[in-house]
């Protein structure tokens, strides 16, 4: 959090307004962000809440509010203020009662087929909006889903009608989510869930509703502002990748070294069920692509016995991508974990019940996010959730199987120790590399890789899916690479973007490989393929670029090693003589998709 906000209590509309005025004075420390709001109500009322909540996270937001209920005109008119503002984020939030007023008034008269067709009509309007937005701006799009709030429920005397309303809303939200997932760089906010959590009673202020068509109370506006800020921050920032856990009094109660297998608390009953619940939370994160690791001061055998023998311990050895159980200090162990998993310390979250350990890690490794774990063990899951560290907005297929892939990598490493000659080792992997061009299915993963990859990344340029689609539209080449070997699939783990800078002159703008596949000469195969593609385009020149970053030293000599000649030292530009024939690598099969 920005230092300025540390000791402030900002809870009421007046305190937000006051703080907003003061934010101007720290503007220089904040990252500017343009946000455009399209909505069916006077969303301008949200401005101070969104701005202050974003400022806490380090952004200075410039908010543009399209005139209310003119969102379609703004989107469809190419010269509208919306486009002139060149937004980084577009938020679309409409009330169902504004989009289809009769629905709220006369809900009971509609039959199921008619309701389906209404849902379809609303979704089609969103399709039109999204299509125009997607082709005209490169902004990230945030769609807020629907919540059917009747100011008063008296109109619905039958319980069945009320339930049908909820089902209708769920149905339309399901369609909206599907539409978002099909649109690149488009994210959905679950407004309905938020209204339920806060409570419909707290959400409506009749005076605001009837006099100004504002659909929520001051408290609701604050909650919504927080959620928008949270979402925008998740879109714009690098996600944490790994959760490092302590063992004793963290994932089970008691101390295994003292209490023994039968003495520790983990069961279906209190207090053991509290820890079991936390394990479920952690497992759920694992299933969504978070890497788990252990840093614990214990005897390795004592701890392992729990994973192997304790029937109530849901977490198993195989759920962890790295395990450091020893008597070294935890900062050292976390560094070992980072190295083992090939990730930066800044992508690690540390969860430990012991405040001394937390302080130690905070002091030694300030890049690591240390969770302020409460004494009350029942709040462990909530604390982890509220930290928003793992607020992923989209889940790619690769995320689901990440731990498995990393474990396969470790098996590969073991095999490597057994193989004497590297080429014969690589041959034994029976690698097949698939290379294809970015399309609607792969573009999100491609964008994700440009944002996450640090080490084997020649230029470290970060792109959104929308930007990548733009490249393709303007005739550039965006390639992805996926690898399969005898242990399994790696999924999409390489990206190259080649741009035609001047006619017939091409430059490799982006070239990256996920670190789990480097060191296997896959990079050479990928580069050869680029050379071949460029040759087939009758190109006269091919350039590659290396831009040095804090983390990509690994690739410093990449172009040199691949027969490129340095042509512009200042900008790190290398040229490839297209007369040359690239050295082939015969132990990797290429599959052109």
């Amino acid at each position: 959090m920005v230092e300025f906000f540390k000791d402030r209590v900002i809870k009421t509309p007046a305190s937000y307004a006051k703080t907003l005025q003061e934010v101007e004075s720290i503007k220089g420390q904040l990252m500017p962000i343009n946000i455009a709001f399209l909505s069916s109500y006077t969303s301008e009322i949200l401005s101070p809440y969104v701005s202050v909540e974003l400022a806490k996270k380090g952004y200075y937001s410039d908010n543009y509010f399209a005139p209310f209920n003119q969102f379609e005109q703004e989107v469809l008119n190419q010269n509208s203020d919306l486009y002139n503002k060149n937004p980084d984020v577009v938020v679309v939030h409409n009330m169902i009662e504004d989009m289809y007023p009769d629905l709220v008034i006369n809900f009971a008269k509609y039959n199921e087929i008619e309701l389906d067709s209404i849902a379809q009509q609303v979704i089609e309007r969103y399709e039109t909006i999204l299509e125009s937005l997607r082709t005209r701006v490169k902004a990230d799009i945030v769609i807020v889903n629907f919540s059917m709030i009747n100011v008063d429920e008296v109109g619905s005397i039958h319980s069945a009608v009320k339930q049908q309303k909820n089902q209708f809303t769920q149905n339309i939200n399901k369609k909206l989510l599907l539409l978002c997932s099909k649109t690149s760089s488009c994210y959905s906010i679950d407004y309905m869930d938020m209204v339920c959590k806060v409570g419909v009673k707290e959400w409506i202020d009749r005076k605001l509703y009837f006099m100004a068509r504002i659909p929520f109370t001051g408290q609701g506006q604050i909650e919504f502002g927080k959620m928008l800020a949270e979402t925008i921050n998740s879109i714009k920032s690098q996600p944490y990748k790994c959760l490092v856990l302590d063992l004793d009094n963290t994932i089970w109660g008691g101390v295994i070294g003292e209490d023994g297998l039968s003495g520790i608390q983990i069961s279906e009953y209190y207090p053991g069920n509290v820890f079991k619940h936390f394990q479920r939370t952690v497992l759920n994160l694992r299933n969504q692509g978070v890497l788990l690791a252990i840093a614990s001061k214990n005897n390795l055998n004592d701890a392992m016995e729990v994973f192997q023998e304790h029937s109530d311990c849901l977490l198993k050895e195989s759920d962890f991508a790295a395990i450091e159980i020893n008597w070294d200090d935890k900062a050292t162990n976390i560094q070992k974990i980072a190295k083992k998993l090939n990730i930066g310390l800044d992508s690690i979250v540390f969860f430990d019940d012991n405040p001394v350990e937390r302080q130690w890690v905070s002091d030694k490794l300030p890049q690591v996010k240390v969770i302020d774990v409460p004494k009350d063990t029942m709040l462990y899951s909530k604390t982890l959730h509220d930290s928003n560290c793992f607020n992923f907005l989209v889940m790619t297929a690769e995320d689901k199987s990440k731990t498995k892939m990393i474990q396969l990598n470790q098996q590969r490493a073991e095999l490597s120790e057994n193989s004497k000659d590297i080429d014969s080792f690589l041959t034994s992997l029976s690698m097949v590399v698939s290379i294809g061009t970015s399309d609607s299915v792969t573009v999100d993963r491609i964008a994700q890789l440009t944002n996450k990859t640090n080490q084997f990344n020649l230029t470290t340029k970060r792109y959104s899916a929308a930007e990548i689609n733009k490249f393709i539209e303007s005739g550039n080449i965006v390639l992805y690479l996926s690898v399969e070997d005898c242990f399994g699939e790696h999924g999409i783990s390489g990206v190259a973007i080649i741009k035609e800078s001047v006619e017939c002159e091409w430059i490799i703008d982006t070239f990256l490989l996920s670190c789990r596949i480097i060191g296997k000469k896959i990079e050479s195969v990928f580069l050869n393929e680029i050379v071949n593609i460029i040759k087939s385009k009758k190109a006269s020149k091919l350039y590659g670029q290396y831009i040095t970053s804090r983390k990509n030293h690994l690739t410093k000599d990449f172009y040199k090693k691949h027969d490129f000649d340095l042509s512009d030292e200042e900008n790190g530009v290398w040229e490839y003589d297209l007369q040359k024939i690239p050295r082939t690598i015969d132990f990797i099969k290429i599959n052109r998709v």
């Binding site: 509309p13 007046a14 307004a17 005076k207 009837f210 001051g218």
Partner: protein, 77 residues
């Protein structure tokens, strides 16, 4: 008096005017930012700071700081 200072503070925060420039005669006529949207913000802020509920009629009657003061005094009695 303490309540009046608090009210002036709220008006100052919401309408972005210096607290010393606010008096009983301050109204939408002489405060630039006091438009219909700010009026709603002001009502929400007063409700939260003084823990009162204002009615639509109150809202329409709040045409100056003096009138807000009178309405608020009734609520706080």
């Amino acid at each position: 008096m303490r309540e009046f200072n608090k009210l002036k503070q709220v008006v100052s925060d919401i309408l972005e005017v210096n607290i010393d420039d606010i008096n009983e005669n301050s109204s939408p006529d002489n405060i630039e930012k006091w438009d219909s949207l700010s009026h709603i913000k002001l009502v929400m802020a007063i409700e939260a700071e003084f823990n009162v509920k204002l009615t639509p009629e109150d809202m329409m009657d709040m045409l100056s700081v003096k009138l807000i003061k009178i309405i608020l005094a009734e609520k706080l009695e």
